[in-house]
């Protein structure tokens, strides 16, 4: 297998971008990555484009998005395809790009993920995301991802003694990081007093899917992110002299039952564990080697559960880590240094690409003041699709 390097990264701000078109925001992130890679003029060296998006055909009334993007930023005749894997579409598209290069088929790939969801009402947006649940046994009931996260949280609380205050502490930590990230949807830091301890906390932070409160879930965001990949043994690496390349050293993915109720132990996120095991094995690393991680905290409970499932902490112990500050930016294992989905936002197709964008920023030492991890070697991103039925893990390392 050939080694694959990330040689360029691009991002739009996450938030409400409903005044723009879907392909325009994707184009913007792509343009930023071309500039970052130093190949804006030589962009035609890109042979293959993978686009990650979920709702184009459903909420933006547009299909053939990969072809549209290629044409809008003058990349023809590059090959172009769309990759859809729900909220894990972004990492799946990166995985497709990784495989295309590792196999020897192409040398230079661009991966762009994007989503434009704020153009429809909250009602419709919730329905759109819920479409990935089982049509007959889940979706018909009005079951949504927050509903599954709520049921998961209740079980987790009962088994491990997790409290609402512990969950609020995760949100506070994520917002602290997100406030320093210029791409964040929610840039305002929040305090434990405002969302849990204080008198008005119940008003500021109401239940959305008990026992999950507003600050336990990510916002609905628009946005796009891009990575440019190149085979590290390719002569075309000579184009990428502007930045130090970062290597993709491990990738793994796994699936689980479509219906949540069909999992033997509903608290086990088997696909998370298997995808991380595969990625770690490919990288030749163990969980202790990881310097920092971006974990799919569409709900803050998932940051805790994923961090245990990938082997960072024992089951039920992630809450101690949050209390002891282990996962803060200056802790032993910083988690969601970007602010995570919780604060940075979660434009479905963009999220996985954005997580890896953050790994590259940290490994290059380019993170903004106050949120740069000290001398990181290896970063891990876990991108969680469905309610854990399709998960992709990526490990990036300094060359």
């Amino acid at each position: 297998m050939r080694k694959v390097a990330i040689v360029g990264i691009g991002h739009t701000v996450f938030g409400n971008l409903s005044e723009f078109e879907l392909v325009d925001i994707m184009s913007f992130a792509s343009g930023n990555a071309l500039e970052d890679a130093g190949i804006l003029k030589d962009r035609k060296i890109i042979e293959q484009v993978f686009v990650a998006n979920v709702g184009g055909g459903i909420i933006n009334h547009q299909t053939g998005i990969a072809s549209s993007l290629v044409s809008r930023i003058d990349l023809e005749p590059a090959m172009a395809e769309l990759v859809e894997n729900g909220p894990a579409s972004g990492s799946s598209a990166v995985k497709a790009g990784f495989a295309a290069i590792a196999s020897g088929m192409v040398d230079v790939v661009m991966v762009t993920g994007g989503e434009l969801m704020r153009t429809v009402t909250g009602w419709k947006g919730t329905d759109f995301v819920a479409m990935l649940t089982h049509p007959e046994a889940e979706y018909n009931y009005g079951l949504t991802l927050p509903a599954f996260a709520g049921m998961f949280t209740r079980l987790y609380m009962k088994k491990y003694g997790l409290t609402e205050r512990d969950l609020a502490m995760v949100a506070v930590k994520d917002h602290e990081n997100g406030a320093k990230n210029p791409y964040s949807h929610v840039e305002i830091p929040c305090t434990l007093d405002a969302i849990h301890d204080g008198e008005n906390a119940n008003v500021v932070n109401p239940y959305i899917a008990e026992p999950i409160r507003l600050y336990g879930a990510c916002p609905v965001s628009d946005g796009a992110a891009t990575l440019i990949l190149c085979a590290s043994d390719s002569p075309k690496m000579k184009f990428f002299t502007k930045k130090e390349p970062v290597l993709i050293t491990g990738m793994g993915a796994a699936t689980d039952t479509h219906c949540v109720h069909n999992r033997k132990d509903p608290l086990e996120l088997t696909a998370v564990r298997l995808s991380a095991e595969k990625a770690l094995e490919m990288a030749g690393l163990s969980p202790e080697d990881i310097s920092f991680a971006e974990l799919h905290d569409a709900f803050v409970i998932l940051e805790l559960a994923i961090s245990e499932e990938v082997g960072f902490f024992e089951k039920g112990k992630a809450k101690e880590a949050i209390k002891e500050g282990v996962t803060r930016i200056d802790g032993r294992l910083p988690i969601n240094t970007s602010g995570g989905l919780k604060s940075k936002g979660h434009p479905l197709g963009a999220t996985g690409v954005s997580q890896i964008f953050e790994l590259v920023k940290q490994l290059r030492g380019e993170a903004e003041e106050g949120r740069q991890v000290k001398d990181p070697e290896h970063g891990m991103a876990v991108n969680f699709g469905g309610f854990g039925n399709n998960v992709v893990t990526t490990i990036c390392s300094k060359e």
Binding site: T121, G122, W123, K124, T126, D127, A130, H134, E136, A137, E138, N140, Y141, G142, L143, T144, P146, A147, G150, M151, F152, R154, L155, K158, P206, Y207, I208, A209, E210, P211, I212, C259, V260, H261, N262, P266
Partner: protein
């Protein structure tokens, strides 16, 4: 002759499906049996369409939530949802009609209208206190 059978009112039901080869029960129905790999053909033309077994009755609540931000098509302030385990070991998600649920409580799984779409009522599980 007028065919009156179309006017017969039938209690709506939710079904589990039984593999014709090994007897394994599933909800919802798969296309290949996890245990013996028997295939299913919904039309029953090439392979068996599998036997329908009514699912419901006595069950135990495994977990639940009360959801306030509902998707399009559900015009109420909140709904309760739960996952239950029936006596035959099958599990299902559905609507919860108990306002003060507890994990482990005994419930009765009935079938009712869970969603009204124009021209069509969609039936599904409603979990309530036993009569």
């Amino acid at each position: 002759m007028v065919d009156f059978s179309v006017y017969e009112l039938k209690e709506p039901e939710v079904y589990a499906y039984k593999c014709p080869d090994c007897g394994a029960l599933y909800y919802p129905v798969p296309m290949i049996c996890k245990k013996c790999s028997a295939r299913r053909d919904p039309s029953g033309v090439i392979f068996s369409s599998w036997e329908q077994v009514p699912l419901g009755g006595k069950c135990k609540l495994l977990t639940w939530t009360r959801v306030y931000a509902l998707p399009e098509g559900f015009d109420v302030k909140y709904l309760l949802f739960g996952i239950v385990e029936f006596e035959n070991g099958l599990r299902a998600s559905g609507r919860l009609l108990v306002d003060d649920p507890r994990i482990g409580m005994e419930l009765d799984g009935k079938v009712g209208i869970v969603k009204e779409v124009v021209g069509e009522d969609i039936y599904g599980f409603m979990f309530d206190l036993p009569d």
